[in-house]
Structure formats: structure tokens, C-alpha cells
Amino acid sequence: MNYFPDEVIEHVFDFVASHKDRNSISLVCKSWHKIERFSRKNVFIGNCYAINPERLIGRFPCLKSLTLKGKPHFADFNLVPHEWGGFVLPWIEALARSRVGLEELRLKRMVVTDESLELLSRSFANFKSLVLVSCEGFTTDGLASIAANCRQLRELDLQENEIDDHRGQWLNCFPDSCTTLISLNFACLKGETNVAALERLVARSPNLKSLKLNRAVPLDALARLMTCAPQLVDLGVGSYENEPDPESFVKLMTAIEKCISLRSLSGFLEVAPLCLPAFYPICQNLISLNLSYAAEIQGNHLIKLIQLCKRLQRLWILDSIGDKGLAVVAATCKELQELRVFPSDVHGEEDNNAAVTEVGLVAISAGCPKLHSILYFCKQMTNAALIAVAKNCPNFIRFRLCILEPHKPDHITSQSLDEGFGAIVQACKGLRRLSVSGLLTDQVFLYIGMYAEQLEMLSIAFAGDTDKGMLYVLNGCKKMRKLEIRDSPFGNAALLADVGRYETMRSLWMSSCEVTLGGCKRLAQNSPRLNVEIINENENNRMEQNEEDEREKVDKLYLYRTMVGTRKDAPPYVRIL
């Protein structure tokens, strides 16, 4: 390789896409490091506080696509107070100042303001793609600037964001000359939609492949949109509260029939079940189906739909499908790779016989040999079931089981679920992500430490007995990157046993555990490359008392490795040791 000119090597590097591999390449020698640096187009930053924009741009001046993640995962469940951080503005400002030719920005759990969006829209002439997942802080005014100013916009994908809907006319802001849209997803907008503007936009976007509407787009509009865009591959349906009249129904069905490229269906936020049959003609082509927001659809309607989806690879559904429905999935969807079953009734107020149990899980594992990712919310589980699942499906990469009631044991034997999860980690040698729940002792963590060699992310809640549990995991899982723990009795001994370990991980979250302020301070003392953040929400009070009690338990601990030291944008209640 040394004898080739740089351009040739660069060309070879073009074939190397994965971030991990490119990072490895850059470590081979100085020459490769330099070539790789200047040819890197896509950069992924898993924690926006691990590095700063200046250093990023310094190393990768030619970057075109940036992915940034901000808040820790548990922020999704309201465990991280507002204004904690994750602001994208400094990044956009720095990129704009340095005249980086940014074309794509993908953000997750970050705070995005209208000002940031405005600046983004004006600073990068070739900007093509904006993907925002679980972000907040902006309004439809920000979207309007993106629509108006990004002349090359191909993708605007808004997934599950908290957006203030000013009911403005942001859709009108797409200029008539904008014909390059490939993907438009505004399903999470809560307000009215200018349907006429939307129809005009879709009509002039011949390349549109993905369209996800919000609940304000009614059924007749949907029919017209689909007639305009039969080339759609991915459709998110809005809402139809009322039963359609026969004429509208026929129009819709006719429009849908023409969409022979449709492979992915989602939305159905409010849908009268009798609309579903309109989609039957294309079910056989579907590879992805997300009905997890369709609270109104009863199990039997879902079953009828799913029975037609023989090619399904990805299914997101509510537990109203029931074990019976999952049996149908198992019998029909032999190509299934990913399944998510969400609870329709969170507080356990209903004695809901239709919800899913361990029976459904076992059925799926038996019927779907290609299954590798599962997220399953249920009210009960048994070790026997988990052991059977492990035997049926040794190929799991992601296994997330959430038993709704904390500490719930095996409902038949009243044992802890250690053995069940133990079987999973032992059988699934490629397991990268695991979430455990139910009654669990230190033993499950012993199993995890022993067997889960590829595990990168572990979520623990209400589990374990002593520090040993956490130690088993830290000692055993060499590839661990993200460890998040809540309400479990792990304390300073576990936290401090191997401080160097944390520099090999992206982050550690511990909330409502037994770690104390003293322990965290000791941790921070010898770790210049770790940021140790304590979130105590009554911090203000404590500061006024002159003594600091080091035995005081810490509410929330979030620590992460960083190359740029303490961040400057933390709110007052976050203390960085």
C-alpha cells in the first residue's frame, strides 16, 4: 500500500464505510491517518460532550454528514431535568464559521432552537438532509426557515420530537422551485396542516419516496396524495376518525392499489378499524409495519391485516394484539427480524386479558427464525419461557424485556428471573444490547458478566442485591459502552473498583442507587478524562448549608469520557466534579 499514491488509497478507503473501521484505518500509520482525515465524509459523535466542534472540524475538515447525540438515554423517560444540556447551536455556529460543506445533520436527544435551524438553513448551500429524533426546543417557525432556505433539501425527517406548533404555514414556505424532496416526515406535529400546500408540494416532488403525515391530514386528502405519489415506498398515515363513506373508501383503495412500491406503513394515530381493509392490497409487499400508535384497533382487526403481511421484517405493535395475535405473527411472518410490542395500558389499571404474556414471546421465538431484535412489554414472565426463547432464537442482537411491575418474579414458580436471562445471554453469543426487568438478584449479573461478551449496552432497573452485581458486569463485559442503572443497590465499592474502565466506555448512568457524593468525588479526582456529573435537584438548598455531607446519596450520576474537559453550559443543578 505504501507504493500507491494518496488518491488511490483514498479511493480504497471510500469502500470502507463503517465508523469503527475508518477509525481503525486512521490508526495504522501517519500517512493513513492523514488520508483518512481528509477523506472522511460521515462523522458520528455518540456524546456531544465528548469532543467539541473546533476539534471535530480540525480533524475532519471535509466532513459532509454529522450525527450527534446529546442527552443520555434515560432522558427519554423524564429522568433528566430540562435544560440539562445537549445544545446544537454551538455546533452549527462552528461549522458555519469554518465553512464546512455540511450536507446532512442527524441529531438525537438534543436541544434545537429556531435560531439554530435558521442559522443552519442559511449557512450551508448544499444542505440536503435534516433528521431530528427525540429533540426539543424548536417550533414550526424553525421548520419554515429550513423549508424556505434549503434549496437542495432532500430529507426532512422529524421523529418523535417535541415541537411547538405555531400553526403557521411552514409547508407554504417550500418554494415552488423545490422539487428535490425524497423524504418528508412531520408525523409528530400536533397542529393543523395546510393540506393544499402539502398536496402541491407532493405533486412537484417526483422523487418523493417517504411521506409521513400527522394526525391532521384526513382520509380524502390521503387518497389524493397517494394518487399523486404512487412511487411512495414509505407511508405514514394520518388520521381518520370516522368511518369513511363508501365513495371515499373506494377512492382510497384505488389510490393505494397503485402504490406497488410501498414497503413500509406507519401512523394510524386515530383510525377507524374499517379503514384498514383499504390497505389489504399492498400488505403482501410490506416489510415494515408500525401500528404502535393505533390504540383504537382491536386485536382481531390487527390480525386480519397481519395475516396478509407475509414478507414483514419489522413489526411495531401494541399489546392489544394479544398472545393470539402474536401466534398469528409467528405463523405468518417468517421473515420477521425486529419486533416491538408496546403497552397500551401503562398503569396496570386494567385486568387486561388481551395483553401479551410469555406465551406470545415463546410463540414468536419459535415461529420467526430470523428474529434478532426484540422490545417486549408485558405483565408477566417465566424462566421457562425465557429459556425456551433462548433455545429457539440464539441470534438475538438486541433483547429488551420490560415487565411492567418492578421486582416481579416468575409468576409460576415465584423465583427470580436470573435463570431465564442467564439462558438468553448464554445462548445469544452475538448479543449487543440487553434490558432486564422483573425480580433479579446478583446472579443474573454474574451470568451477564460471564457470557455476554459482545454486550455493548445494558439497562438495569430495580435489580440486584449488592455491589457484586455491578462488579460482575464491569469485570466481565469487556465491550460494554453504555451502562445505565436505576433504582438498584449498587454503591461506591462497585463504582470505584475500576475507574480506568470508564474511559473504555461512552457513559455510565446511575440514578437512585447507593453511590454517595464522597464516592463520586473520589472517582472524579483521579480521572481527568471523565466528566462526572451529579444531578441533585435540591442542590440549591444544600449549597446554602455550609457543610457538604459526603455520605449523602447522589440522586443521579452521569459520567462520560471526554477529550475536552468540563462543559461550560451545564445548568446550576448539575454539578460537575
Binding site: D76, F77, N78, L79, P81, E83, E162, K190, E241, L269, E270, Y293, A295, E296, F342, P343, V346, H347, G348, E350, N352, N383, A384, I387, A390, K391, C402, E405, H407, I412, T413, Q415, E419, T441, D442, L446, G449, A461, F462, D465, T466, K468, L471, N475, R486, D487, G491, N492, A493, L496, A497, S512, E514, E537, N538, N540, N541, K553, P571, P572
Partner: protein, 313 residues
């Protein structure tokens, strides 16, 4: 800040009497943020300023999620670091002995559980060295008792549990709320998070409106959260509020603060909380804001009059 006001209250007698809005034991308020505080301290802590996350303020909530093994509370500082070494030797120990002593998974399962279970899972081999086995067996029997006894009623609401994105909770809630008549009374996810901000507070909060069934509950929860605001005279308007009116005014005096609770409705207008029946309020409220009394003048027709009334008292 204004948090100081509450510390004055601490020294007054009858701390528990603060709960004069008739809510049940408010000691449960804080347990999610300090799950391991002994029970005897909980009442005291409840009257202290606590800024737990919004969902933890529901008065009916049960406690004790974190109290798996009370015995470890005292040990935590004395817990030696030795186990780390023990474990590594144990784990490497039996990893090397893989070829030997293979035991059926069923055998070890039996031994640990101590039960001759009727269900025998087969086929997966699992072996542990005797030393590790004994250690774990002991701890298991401790844990079993603790774990089972601590399983709380499913109705208890824990912050951030089950782990579902609030976006999903909110979306499901607005779907099902429109169709509760048709859907067999299924409550659905029933969460409705709205942001609550307060003038002068460094950060805003979120509350789930569906965890409350009346203005009193909401106000008491918000009060605990922000510790010194005054309700507008919703007592004057709300049907249930009349008998509470004098108590609320008393509270106004005690705090001596001038904050008023307002909300933004679906049309983007800011209104005083309490003017409409609770059910309508939950459907139209987009955001909550605790404003200074002076800022709230002109909000609703009677607003000017209301703040005048306050001063007279």
C-alpha cells in the same frame, strides 16, 4: 431565592398539618428522589423543599421501590473492595474448567432455587464453581424475601417507569381521550405532559395532568415543585373550591408571595387557571406558567379585580 421561605416553615410546629388541602400522606412525594431514606425521615423531608420530578408529586403514590435490601444501607461505606478479586477468580476459575464438570442447567437451577420445580428446562449447560454457588445461594435467600415483600401495588407511579418515551405517552393519551366512550372504558396510556415554567425559576418542569383529578391536586403538586407560588382565586370559581377559599388565602399570607398560575390554551391565549371545569382544562391546556401577580393583570376579565382582592387580604 424564594426557596428560603419554606425553610421558615420547617421550624414551625405541626409540620404535618401543612397538608391542609386534605390530600393523603404527602410523605410519598420524595421517595423517588431519595429512595433509601428511612421511613421515619420521610415526613420531615416532605415539608422540606424538594424538587422531585413532576411525576413523583402525586400524593397517592406508594414508596419503597429502592428498598431492596435494607441491610446494605449501613454496610455501604464499609463494603470492602475484596469481592472484585473474588469474583475475577471465580469467573476465570470456572471458565477454565469448561471441559470438566458440566452440569445440566436444570441441576444448577434446582440447587439455587431450592425447589423441585415442575418445569425443567433442558439442554443448556451451565456450571459454576462451588464457592460462587454458595455465596450466591446465601444472597439469594436474602434477596428473595426482600424482593417479594417489596413488590408494591401496580398502581404506584414511579418516575420514568415503565420506560416509555413521553412523546409516546402523550400521543396515545390524546388518541384515546377522544374515544373513551367507544372503547370499553379502556384508560389507555393516559399521560398528558405539559411544561410548567415559573418566572425566576432556573428551569422548567413537566407534569402529567392525568395524574391529577382536580385543581387542588395540581396546585399542591406544583407548589411542592416550585415551593412558593400562589394560586389565582380558582377557589372562587371552581365548584369544589369554595370551602377551601379561606385556607388558600391563609397560605397566601404565609408565603406572602404574589405568584399566579396561568395556562396557555389551544388558541395560544394565556388564561388564569381555575376558570373552567377541570376536564375542559386538561383538554385545552398546552402549557402552564407561574407568573408574578403583576404580570397576570389583564389575563382574564376578572384578573385585575382578583389581584386587588389579594392585596386587601
Amino acid at each position: 431565592m424564594s426557596y428560603r421561605l419554606l425553610s421558615v416553615d420547617k421550624e414551625e410546629p405541626g409540620l404535618k398539618e401543612r397538608n391542609y388541602l386534605g390530600l393523603s400522606d404527602c410523605s410519598s412525594v420524595d421517595s423517588s428522589t431519595i429512595p433509601n431514606v428511612e421511613k421515619s425521615n420521610l415526613n420531615f423531608k416532605a415539608t422540606e423543599l424538594r424538587l422531585g420530578l413532576p411525576e413523583s408529586e402525586s400524593p397517592e403514590r406508594e414508596t419503597d421501590f429502592g428498598l431492596l435490601s435494607p441491610r446494605t444501607l449501613d454496610e455501604k461505606l464499609l463494603f470492602p473492595l475484596l469481592p472484585c478479586k473474588d469474583n475475577t477468580s471465580a469467573t476465570t476459575g470456572h471458565k477454565n474448567v469448561v471441559s470438566g464438570n458440566k452440569r445440566g442447567f436444570a441441576d444448577t437451577w434446582d440447587e439455587f432455587s431450592g425447589l423441585k420445580g415442575s418445569v425443567r428446562p433442558g439442554g443448556i449447560n451451565m456450571m459454576l464453581s462451588p464457592k460462587v454457588k454458595d455465596v450466591l445461594k446465601d444472597e439469594r435467600s436474602h434477596a428473595k424475601g426482600g424482593g417479594l415483600n417489596n413488590a408494591p401495588a401496580a398502581k404506584a407511579q414511579v418516575v420514568g417507569w415503565p420506560p416509555i418515551r413521553s412523546y409516546r405517552k402523550n400521543t396515545m393519551a390524546s388518541s384515546t381521550s377522544k374515544n373513551t366512550d367507544e372503547v370499553d372504558g379502556k384508560p389507555g396510556l393516559g399521560a398528558l405532559f405539559v411544561k410548567v415554567s415559573m418566572d425566576g425559576a432556573p428551569y422548567l418542569r413537566k407534569v402529567d395532568l392525568r395524574t391529577y383529578t382536580s385543581y387542588q391536586q395540581l396546585s399542591s403538586a406544583l407548589e411542592k415543585m416550585f415551593s412558593c407560588f400562589t394560586l389565582g382565586q380558582y377557589g372562587l370559581h371552581g365548584a369544589q373550591g369554595r370551602e377551601r377559599m379561606s385556607e388558600i388565602k391563609l397560605k397566601d399570607l404565609l408565603h406572602g408571595s404574589e405568584f399566579v398560575l396561568t395556562y396557555e390554551d389551544k388558541d395560544g391565549d394565556w388564561m388564569l387557571v381555575g376558570d373552567v371545569p377541570w376536564e375542559i382544562f386538561t383538554e385545552t391546556c398546552q402549557k402552564l406558567k407561574i407568573m408574578k401577580g403583576s404580570d397576570s393583570i389583564g389575563l382574564a376579565p376578572g384578573a385585575v379585580e382578583k389581584s386587588k382582592n389579594k392585596e386587601r387580604v
